[in-house]
Each structure stands twice: as C-alpha cells, then as structure tokens.
C-alpha cells in the first residue's frame, strides 16, 4: 500500500517550513476554520485530506494570502509572519498551484511563467533571462515543457506543469497543490507524483490538498485530516491506513439516535437499471448503477462526496440527462438514454426531491417564504385562480406548513434568505413531504443544520417510511445513513461498490467508501 512512500528524515528537530497556530476564520455564521494547528516539516510531502467543504481550501487560501485569518499565527521557517496578500506569500517562498489553472490561454508557456514577474517595462530582456532560468528549472526538476508552446495547445497535465514552473520561477520553497489530480488522467497523475518526489528530493516542501485517499497513501509522508472546519488528526502516512482515514474524514462524533421499528418493505416503487451519466466534460460520473427502493424502506447511499451521488439523484429527479439506463416508477418504464429531462413530469409521477444544496437548487432565496413553499408545484390547480396565482391560498398553505414543521420565524412573507439554515431546510422538506409523494429523493437532509432540526428532520423521514413511502437517501454523514437507512449502498467512483446492513462494521463501510475493493468480503 505504501509502495511509493519515500523514506526520509521525518521528525527531526529542524525548524518546520510552515507552522500554523490556532487559525480561525469565519464567513458570517460559517466557521470555516476552527483553531487549526498544523506543522509542515521541511522537505516533506504533507497531505491535507477532508471532504468538500471541510475547510481545506480556506486554510490554504489563508496561507497564500487570499484571506486573512480572524485569529491565529503563521510561522514560516520559524519566524512569525503576516501574509496579507499573495505577493507577500510569494516573497516568503510560498507558491500555489490552483485547482483551476490561472493561465492565459493564448500566451506561450514562457509568457505565462513571467506574467506578473516581468522585471521591467520591456519584455525582451526579461524573456531571455527567463528562458535561461526556465531551462535550469526544467533540468533540475525534470519538468519538460516547450517554452514557446501556446497554453491552449497543451494537454491539461502539461498546463499543470506550467503552473508548477510558475511557482518555482518565483522562488517557491513551499508548494501548495489544491486538488491537483482532479483534472488529470491516471497516467498524468502518476507523472505528477514523480515530479513531486523529485521536488521533495531537491529539498522543496509540498502541501497536497485532496479528498482522494489513494493519493495520500501513495505520495505523502504525513497526513492531516480536516472535518467541518477542524483539524481532527495528523498521522504519519506509514502508520495509518485508508479505513482509518476514511473514518476520520467522515467522522462519527455524534452518535445519532433515531427511534424506529424494523422496516416492513413492500412493493418496489422505484427501480433504476444500468444508469450511466456523463457530465459536460465527457467524464462518466455514474457508471452502470442499478438499485431499487421498496415502499416502506429507506435506502441509504453512503460515500465520500463527489463520487456520483449528486448526478445519480439529479438524473432520477429528471434534472440531468443520462447516457443510458432505464427507470421504473409509478408503473411506467422510462428509457433514460432518450428522454428529455423534465422534473415537472417526475413530480407528476409522485416523486419528491429534496436537493442536496438548498441554496443552489432547493430555494430561490430572494423569494418570500410562501413563494418557495410552492416551488416546483406552482402549476398545481389548487394554487391557481385562472391565470393568476391564488396568493391568499398559497400563504395559508405555507402558514400551515410553518406550524406543522415549526419553521421560525413563523412569517410566510419574510424573505427566505433571512431564515437560518435549519429553517430553510425545513421549508424544503415541508414542501416536498407535504405533497405526499410515493418516492422521495433526499440529498444531504441535515447539512449545515443545527442539532434540534436534525432530530426533527430524521423523525419526519422515519414517519414517511412508516406511512409506506419509499425513500432514497444520499448523505456523506455515515452516522446519518446508519441511523436512518434500512439498507446501505456504498458508492465510489460512480459505482455501487457494495450493499451492507446499516449495522455493518464501520471500518468495513469506511473501506468500501475509500474504494478498497473486496473490502470485508
């Protein structure tokens, strides 16, 4: 497992390249970084792993001077510094390779490398000096790339190499790579790892941000795990394994306790066969997935976020189109490869959908509460008065939901943006559950929701199950899946890699989520 791990002197008494002490950063009510401590040894590859939204990128942005921390200290080579912008970071020898490259497409490699670091008003002198320097860097770090090629003609892997060259040209000793392999093919990723090892051998320090466990195991010396804005653990990579890291990432801090009777599953109400989804970049995000949901059961899909769960839900809900696959719902068979996506049609087949991201999709936050209470159902005859909306009727219906779901403040004409996260989520849930759908798709029902609301939402979902509805639940919170689901499907890299009972061994689920094949089998 640790075949690529290079041995070097870790844990020596040398001054760390980077040290962070009690870093805090808030964005409004969101506490993105909580008391973060981090020590990065010189000449090492240090991984930072965590789910999307765990606060990794915020932390690196603080280090690179995009944001300033609200509290806390940054030490570079042992001396405290204040990094107010990226210029300061560069001067301190910190370089960053962004997830989305910051390159000018119609400039040559050389022009991109010197961009912002031109020595004088005239380019010519700078360019010839840069050419020599670039040659030296290429030789020293085996970073071959034609300096006169235009960026737009280069494959993504080479563009990334230019980003690395840019950082080295500016004298970076510490290199931060943010999700570097997200856009790379496996071969390109392997090559990148070789480059990173060369950099390490030459004494550079590398900080690798990722949510992929394999990369951490393959290349890093040390790994720090972030979860919900906190640094939960730091391990020597050689002394840990994927399942421990997966557990740490997903967390099992709060033991959720939901009272429920065993499920009494009946007829199948939703079945998906051979679903494959390709996104706009041409990458297959869902690969040949089949599953079924019976009336009276909750099927949970566990997995680290970004493994195709979003696409799966959105395709079933009629928002995305699929490459192939069939859907059985409400006694009908739909060929997903040929249908025109139409969420309204799916709602008519008694399919409710609580989307994963309420701000992006579930709500129009600029609308009044009562207007969001009919989003997706605004064409129902009960809300219409001929051509017009029956505003009084809609407000009354919204008020009834507000009371039933204890949405606070109880004011249907208040702008939705002014409700707290938990109450916003209740608005969405009330809307979808109160239509009494036969099948309910639920994505991340309690993300960013306070404990009290979590309990309420879980109760509602169990009630719905007991009323004989079928629920397909996607959550990155393993505890939530285990507490609610009657069957657990684990999704990894677009595939369903296993089905387990909700009380299955947590390590086993963790390994499945990490994509370790044959786990526990």
């Amino acid at each position: 497992m640790n075949k690529a791990l290079h041995t070097n002197e870790l844990g020596t008494s040398a001054v760390p390249a980077i040290e962070l002490r009690k870093i805090n950063k808030r964005f409004g009510p969101v506490h993105a970084n909580k008391d973060i401590d981090l020590v990065v040894a010189k000449g090492s590859i240090h991984g930072i792993i965590g789910e999307n939204g765990a606060g990794k990128s915020t932390l690196m942005s603080i280090l690179y001077g995009f944001y300033e921390a609200d509290e806390g200290d940054i030490l570079v080579n042992g001396s405290p510094v204040r990094i107010s912008d990226s210029k300061t970071a560069i001067a301190l020898g910190i370089g960053m390779v962004h997830q989305h490259f910051m390159l000018v497409d119609n400039f040559s490699v050389l022009e991109n490398v010197i961009l912002g670091a031109e020595d004088s008003g005239f380019l010519a002198s700078g360019i010839s000096r840069a050419r020599t320097e670039l040659k030296r860097l290429e030789d020293e770090y085996e970073l071959r790339v034609d300096p006169d090629a235009l960026i737009q003609d280069l494959p993504v892997g080479l563009q990334q190499r230019v980003e690395i060259l840019k950082a080295l040209y500016r004298g970076a000793d510490v290199l931060i790579l943010d999700e570097p392999t997200g856009v790379l093919t496996p071969a390109e990723a392997d090559h990148l790892f070789k480059i990173l090892n060369v950099l390490k051998d030459q004494g550079k320090t590398v900080l690798l941000i990722t949510h992929k466990l394999r990369e951490i195991m393959a290349i890093t010396d040390k790994v720090s795990v972030m979860r919900r804005g906190e640094m939960v653990a730091t391990r020597q990579t050689a002394e840990t394994n994927m399942s421990e890291l997966a557990e740490l990432m997903v967390g099992r801090s709060v033991l959720l306790n939901v009272e429920k009777q065993p499920a009494k599953p009946r007829d199948t109400v939703l079945a998906v066969e051979g679903l494959t989804v390709t996104d706009t970049r041409g990458v297959e995000t869902v690969k040949n997935v089949s599953l079924e949901v019976k009336a009276g059961e909750i099927v949970g899909i566990a997995g680290v976020s970004g493994n195709g769960q979003t696409e799966l839900l959105e395709t079933i809900a009629g928002i995305r189109s699929a490459t192939s696959g069939t859907l059985h719902i409400a006694g009908e068979t739909i060929d997903l490869g040929t249908r025109t996506p139409n969420p309204a049609e799916m709602r008519q087949k008694s399919l409710g959908h609580v989307p994963e991201d309420r701000h992006r999709m579930g709500l129009v936050t600029r609308f009044a509460e009562y207007e969001n209470a009919i989003l997706g159902y605004h064409n129902d005859p009960q809300y219409s008065n001929g051509l017009f909306l029956d505003i009084a009727g809609i407000k009354a219906a919204a008020m009834a939901e507000i009371e039933k779901y204890d949405i606070r403040p109880p004011n249907p004409i208040l702008k939705t943006a002014n409700f707290s996260g938990g109450n916003q989520q209740k608005i969405v849930l009330a809307r979808e559950i109160e239509r009494d759908p036969t099948v309910l798709l639920v994505g991340q029902p309690t993300r960013g929701v306070d404990i009290g609301a979590i309990e309420f939402i879980h109760k509602r979902l169990i009630e719905m199950r007991d009323a004989g509805k079928g629920i397909l639940l996607v959550s990155v919170e393993l505890d939530e899946i285990r507490a609610l689901a009657d069957r657990v499907l684990v999704m990894f890299d677009g595939r369903i890699v296993g089905e387990r009972a909700p009380d299955a061994d947590e390590r086993e689920l963790g390994l499945l989520m990490a994509g370790v094949e044959g786990a526990g089998a």
């Binding site: 809900a317 009629g318 309204a344 709500l363 609308f367 997706g376 605004h378 017009f388």
Partner: protein, 368 residues
C-alpha cells in the same frame, strides 16, 4: 437589486432621492463652469416642464414613451435578461401601428383602429425580440450583443421599407401618407374637459401606458408565468429543479419585453405624428434602461422615473431655448449624469447608509 439591510423607505425612497440630488449637484457644477447660474437653470427647467399646461403636456408625452420602454427593460430584468434592444423593437413596432392605421383609418373610428394598432405594435416588437431571445435560449448568444445588433438591422430595414416599399409615392420624405381621423388617437386636451395642454401631443396612449403598468404588475407578481420568470431570473438552477423550462421562459420573456417596447410606437405614430416616419424612436429605447434601473423594475417606480425623464426632456428643451449658453448637448450631459448616478453608481451611497442605519439600530437594540 438587493435590498440589503435597509428599511424599505430608505431603499425605495431615500437612495433614489440622494442619487438625484447628487446628479443635479454635479450638473450644477457644470452649469457654473460655463458661467451660468445653476439656480436659474433649475428654475427654468422646472418651470418649463411643470410650470404651465403645455409644458406638463410635453412632459407627459415623453413620459408615455419612457413608461413603455422602461417596462420593456424591467420585464426582461426579472428574468435576468438585459434587453437593450428596445430601440429597434419600438421602431419595428411602428410597422404594426402603421399597418393597422393605413388599412383602417378611412373605414372606422379611432377606437376601432386602436386595438388593432396596439396588437400590431406588440406583435411586431415581440417578433423582433423573438430572434435574440431564441438565440439566447438555444445557442447562448448573449442578448446584450444580439439585441443591440438588431437595433442596427431595424434601422436599416426601416429605411429600406420607407424608401422603397411603404413610403408615400411621389414624396421626397421617407414616410407613409398621413393618417386621417380613424388612424389618430385623440389628444388628452380634447377629451378631458377643463384641461389645457396647449399644442402638446400628449394623447390617449398615456392611458394605455398606465394600463400596461397594471398589466406588468399583475403579470410579474400575480401570475404563474411571472412566478416562473422571477424564479428563473433569481436562481436558474432552482428554476430548472422546479420544472421551469428555461428556453420557453427566456423566449416568452423576451417577446413580452419586445411587445412592450413596440407599443411605444403607438404614442409616436398614432398619437402624435400620424404617419410612420424615419427615426421616430430617437433614443427612447435606450433611456428606458435608465428608467427601469431608477424605477427598480417596478411599475410604480417606472412611472415616477419616466416622469422625471420626461421633465428632463421637456425642461431641457426650454432651458436651451431660454439660456442659449446651455446648449442641447448640455442637456444630454445632465441626462447622462442622472443615468450615471441613478443607474451605474447605484451602490455609491448604499454602503454608507447601511453603516449609518446599522449603528443607529444597535444602540436602540441595546436600550430595548
């Protein structure tokens, strides 16, 4: 157009007022610069636009145009679309008006011709906006680019039609024959007893414009279509989630927007000129953008902003007549400053006011 944390009266009343005062302050500096008295200039401007019947009549006549073009821009705003093709849509709308009037004016009275003229104007304007809307919805061609190009196409097309196709035979002017009684809307001065607007061409179109305001208000805030338009404009992803078809929404919104712009032609062609002539739109379509911005895309605000711009047009004309040093171009500068402060610099005073009101509320909360 976020409301931030300000009380409504500040957001909808105080901020536009401050913007306006700032615009006039800078305009006053310009007037001083050319050696004239700003106080006198303001007096002339206000007297010229509101001081006597004919002045008021002209102000309202211009305001009628601005209401139509302002509503057009506002409807598109609500769907997140920026229709700056009001100019061309109004111009082409004139074809619909002229067609109805030329065909019917000898046969029926004006009130029979009017519905046909309104329908013709709206249909032609909508058709002209349909193409950019369709291209935006299906091809992603940005409406800002396409609508402005369609303004130029409209201008050339109308010259061609007026010179070669529908122009009056034997006339030196590129224009149609003058409509007789059945193709003319009555002047308000003739139908409202006791009101004297002099020779001002303010006509029945003003009533149509006010009806259009009510119609737009109902459409946007009271119908399912309006709900879909606003959903799409505020959060396209949520709209798709809700089963709202983006292509349909964009195309229909653009057509309604174009139809409203087209109806401006009623006021000019059937209400005032009584013939279709070249370049009768002369910038009303563009000023509609400023009217919609200043009026916060709400019909009430648009009526107020339209009257303001009507005053600037009429009062400005009086101003350059009374004080020759203030030329017509100077008036354009003042109008430009109003647009700049009301539209483009909308957010200049807002942060200060937000801070002011936040600090005012904090002690109040502490005391309570």
């Amino acid at each position: 157009m976020s409301t931030g944390q300000l009380p409504r009266w500040v957001d909808l009343g105080l901020i536009p007022l401050i913007n306006l005062v700032a615009a006039f302050f800078v305009s006053g500096l310009v007037v001083i610069l050319i050696g004239e008295s700003p106080v006198e200039a303001v007096q002339v401007l206000i007297w010229g636009s509101l001081g006597f019947g004919e002045g008021i009549g002209f102000t309202l006549f211009y305001a009628t145009n601005f209401i139509f073009t302002g509503l057009a821009v506002a409807v598109a705003f609500h769907a997140g679309l920026f229709n700056i093709g009001g100019e061309g849509q109004a111009y082409i709308g004139g074809l619909g008006v002229a067609a109805a009037c030329l065909l019917l004016d000898h046969i029926v009275p004006w009130w029979v011709t009017m519905p046909f003229a309104v329908a013709g104007a709206a249909l032609m304007g909508a058709a002209w906006a349909f193409i950019p809307g369709y291209l935006q919805a299906t091809r992603g061609s940005h409406v800002v680019i396409t609508t402005i190009m369609f303004n130029f196409i409209a201008a050339s097309l109308m010259v061609y039609l007026l010179v070669n196709v529908i122009g009056e035979a034997g006339s030196m002017q590129p224009e149609t024959r003058t409509f007789v009684e059945g193709g003319r809307l009555p002047f308000l001065t003739d139908i409202i007893p006791g009101v004297d607007f002099g020779t001002a061409p303010v006509n029945f179109s003003l009533i149509l414009a006010l009806l259009a305001c009510i119609g737009v208000w109902l459409l946007i805030w009271r119908t399912r279509l309006g709900y879909e338009i606003r959903s799409y404009g505020a959060n396209p992803d949520a709209a798709v989630y809700a089963g709202i078809n983006p292509v349909r929404t964009i195309v229909i919104t653009m057509m309604i927007s174009g139809g409203l712009a087209g109806m401006m032609a009623i006021n000019e062609v059937m209400g005032s000129q009584h013939r279709l002539l070249i370049e009768f739109v002369t910038g009303y379509g563009f000023v509609g953008i400023a009217v919609a911005l200043m009026g916060r895309a709400h019909p009430v605000g648009i009526v107020l902003a339209a009257i303001l711009f009507g005053m600037l047009y009429q009062g400005g004309a009086e101003l350059s007549f009374e004080i020759p040093a203030i030329t017509r171009d100077m008036i354009v500068v003042i109008q430009g400053l109003v647009i700049l402060f009301a539209g483009a610099l909308e957010y200049m005073f807002r942060p200060t006011l937000v801070r002011l009101f936040a600090s005012r509320r904090a002690p109040a909360a502490a005391a309570g």
